[in-house]
Amino acid sequence: MNPQVPGLIMITSEEPAPVCADGVCGPVPDGSGAADPGASTQTDGQNQAG
């Protein structure tokens, strides 16, 4: 699942990029977002139209 970050337009894709979370740095932990060729941006923006 890609992260939803309030107020930011997230660069996301199907393939997550590696992050460290809660002290653990797995190869491809859940909760990360990634962009690659063909990725799209999406917004969870509080200032965006619904």
Binding site: M1, N2, P3, Q4, V5, P6, G7, L8, I9, M10, I11, P16, A17, P18, V19, C20, A21, D22, G23, V24, C25, G26, P27, P29, G31, S32, G33, A34, A35, D36, P37, G38, A39, S40, T41, Q42, T43, D44, G45, Q48, A49, G50
Partner: protein, 245 residues
Amino acid sequence: MTRPGSVRLSLRLTAGNTGAAGAVGPGVTTPLTVDVWSDIACPWCYIGKRRFEAGLASLGDQAPPVTLTYHSFELAPDTPLDFEGSEVEFLAEYKQLPADQVHQMLDHVAGLAREVGLDYDFDALRHTKTLAAHQLLHLAKARGLQLELAERLFKAYFTEGGHVGHVEDLVGYAQEVGLDPDEARAALADGRYAADVQADLDQAVAYGIQGVPFYVIDGRYGISGAQPPETFAQVLAQVAAERAA
């Protein structure tokens, strides 16, 4: 997954965008801001740093001017200043991960680090609390030496078995990059940058950041994780092109 209320924009990043953004460099006079939430104790953050640098460099003459700022994120606030044990033992003890899984995980990370020229030494790594290191990074920011200190601390932690929690070790690294050791020691003693560190941590919470590295481009675009260089290049080119339009 898009949660209710979110909007998918039409902007798409494609492999051709980098080359198509021919006017990116000349069209942008005010540097793009790149704010990075990161922890010295985060192996993906150092790898992400190299990948970002490679992505920016790949744009060559078309690279937009960028102002990069590191922000504090404590990956494991419960880490003691002096953990007596290996990285494997730390993850097994504090995160209840099976040792075999940790070995596999670290081998994988070390392999990817080598791909970007970093020789991680997890056997020598000395786990510690990074709060003081973050304070020092804020002092370095105030003196225009933050990127140099971030690089020095990452290198010490992941490749040299250096300690980035003890005051005198930190002062030594600060001095190496050109900071005044007396000022560094005093800053850590009186905690004058503690509020700045906390402000970064609070902003991370406000953004909803749960993992690092996390990049915010121009205060608008969020990128999570140690992305491939080409992704950073595409995003920078795209944002610069939007600015120039």
